[in-house]
């Protein structure tokens, strides 16, 4: 094992985390796309690297005659000895990723079941708390609570509808799911997932602001609804307070972001090609680990 083994994973994980912490001054739509691409490729690369290291570690630990007999075992051994701490860490990461992904799948399935049990996604529900959400899917749509309809004036209601329609039109649930998957596979990417969710909300806010032509109105609507919305649930803890609503309102009271018609696609294309290249080299290495498992 050399440091080069870790290079692909580091090449993707470090920029992803850096972007989550210090976002580029680009439109949230481009930032969200960039983060989604980086998150998924970084997670895949990290898991592949962990698989390779874990496989090589196991091959080194197991009795030599069980491993070196078949051709594939020898390939892993040729990769060089893997220090025990690294091997154990890699295996632990794989286990955490597997459990996290299973939990995520379960949550996803439960969420979809809740949506289906409700029947149609769109509609007004008799709830006096002001709430609105975009329900994806063929029978999806915007779900509003009666409390929201009663609380908001027409202009503000239109802001909410446009915000939710932007989520549906741009398939934001796919981005959100990609980010959630990346964070489940490789938990250190959790900040990237959070940042991605924030950028998706910002994206929908900007779409709503462009449609109604009044950024202040969007900001006030968000502030008003969130102040009246029910507080966080029982499983919430202070560490989760990320001030997302506050930052959204601040951003809307600020100048509108540039649409980045050139920089956005260029950045995304460059990142896509680069991360695709890095990820594919890593996945090729990973074939070795797969061979061991087969």
């Amino acid at each position: 094992m050399t440091w080069y083994t870790l290079a692909p994973a580091l090449l993707l994980v470090v920029p992803a985390l850096a972007l989550a912490r210090l976002p580029l001054p680009i439109h949230p739509a481009w930032s969200a796309r960039l983060l989604a691409v980086l998150a998924v490729s970084a997670a895949l690369t990290a898991v592949s690297t962990a698989g390779l290291l874990g496989g090589a570690f196991l091959a080194g630990v197991l009795p030599p005659d069980t491993v070196s007999g078949p051709e594939r075992g020898r390939l892993l051994l040729e990769h060089g000895p893997v220090p025990a701490p690294v091997g154990v860490l890699a295996l632990a990461l794989l286990a955490v990723g597997a459990v996290g992904t299973a939990l995520l799948a379960l949550r996803w399935w439960r969420g979809m079941r809740e949506v289906r049990r409700h029947g149609d996604g769109a509609g007004v529900v008799a709830d006096d708390r002001p709430m609105a959400m975009a329900v994806p899917g063929r029978r999806g749509g915007v779900m509003l609570s009666r409390g929201l309809l009663r609380m908001l004036g027409r202009d503000q209601l239109s802001v909410v509808l446009r915000h939710e329609h932007a989520h549906l039109r741009h398939r934001h649930h796919v981005y959100a799911a990609a980010g959630a998957l990346a964070a489940a596979l490789f938990p250190p990417l959790a900040p990237v997932h959070r940042r991605l969710r924030f950028d998706l909300e910002r994206w929908a806010d900007e779409e709503a602001a462009a449609a109604v032509g009044d950024r202040g109105l969007v900001a006030r609507t968000i502030a008003q609804v969130s102040l009246a919305a029910p507080g966080p649930g029982p499983s919430w803890h202070p560490g989760l307070a990320d001030y997302q609503v506050v930052r959204r309102v601040e951003a809307l009271l600020d100048e509108p972001p540039s649409a980045n018609p050139v920089a956005g696609p260029a950045l995304l294309g460059g990142t896509g090609v680069a991360s695709g290249g890095v990820a594919s080299t890593c996945v090729e290495l990973h074939h070795l680990a797969f061979l061991l498992l087969l």
């Binding site: 049990r117 008799a126 959400m133 919305a229 507080g231 506050v246």
Partner: protein, 146 residues
């Protein structure tokens, strides 16, 4: 009639229906809408909303009358919203407009709103319970786009 204008009307129609308890005919609805939209346009919007299950209709004489569909069972909504309240939907199935605020977040938000003078002299709501009956932002006849 652009998609965008239709979307705007959709929101306005929903808002008008939300203010009313009974059924409204297309004509009655049209009277309460700003900007005097065409009868057929309002009908189109109503049909789309009906298609989406957001309004229900019944027949009065020869015309249809509409009202907001409200899922009175409440149970489904309760489950839905409770699902969301747990760490704001980590699996990303749903996108919620806003999540509720913790006390610290609410304080920070009010600080931001106070710092920013409102452009049209409608002061931001203060106090968590105040915005339940807000002043309507009645900007009638706002020009739609350029």
């Amino acid at each position: 009639m652009s998609r965008r204008r239709l979307g705007q009307l959709e929101a306005e129609v929903l808002a008008v229906l939300a203010e009313t308890d009974g059924f409204l005919s297309t004509g009655e609805l049209r009277e309460r809408l700003d900007g005097d939209p065409a009868y057929t346009t309002v009908n189109t919007v109503l049909f789309r909303l009906y298609d989406k299950g957001m309004v229900e209709r019944s027949q009065r004489g020869r015309a249809y009358v509409y009202r907001l569909t409200v899922d009175e069972s409440g149970l489904a909504a309760e489950r839905m919203f409770d699902h969301l309240r747990v760490a704001s939907d980590p699996a990303g199935v749903l996108n919620q407009f806003v999540h509720g605020l913790s006390a610290e977040e609410a304080a920070a938000l009010r600080a931001v709103l106070e710092r920013e003078p409102s452009p049209d002299a409608s002061p931001p709501p203060s106090g968590a319970d105040a915005p339940r009956t807000p002043p309507r932002q009645g900007r009638e006849g706002r020009p739609d786009g350029p």
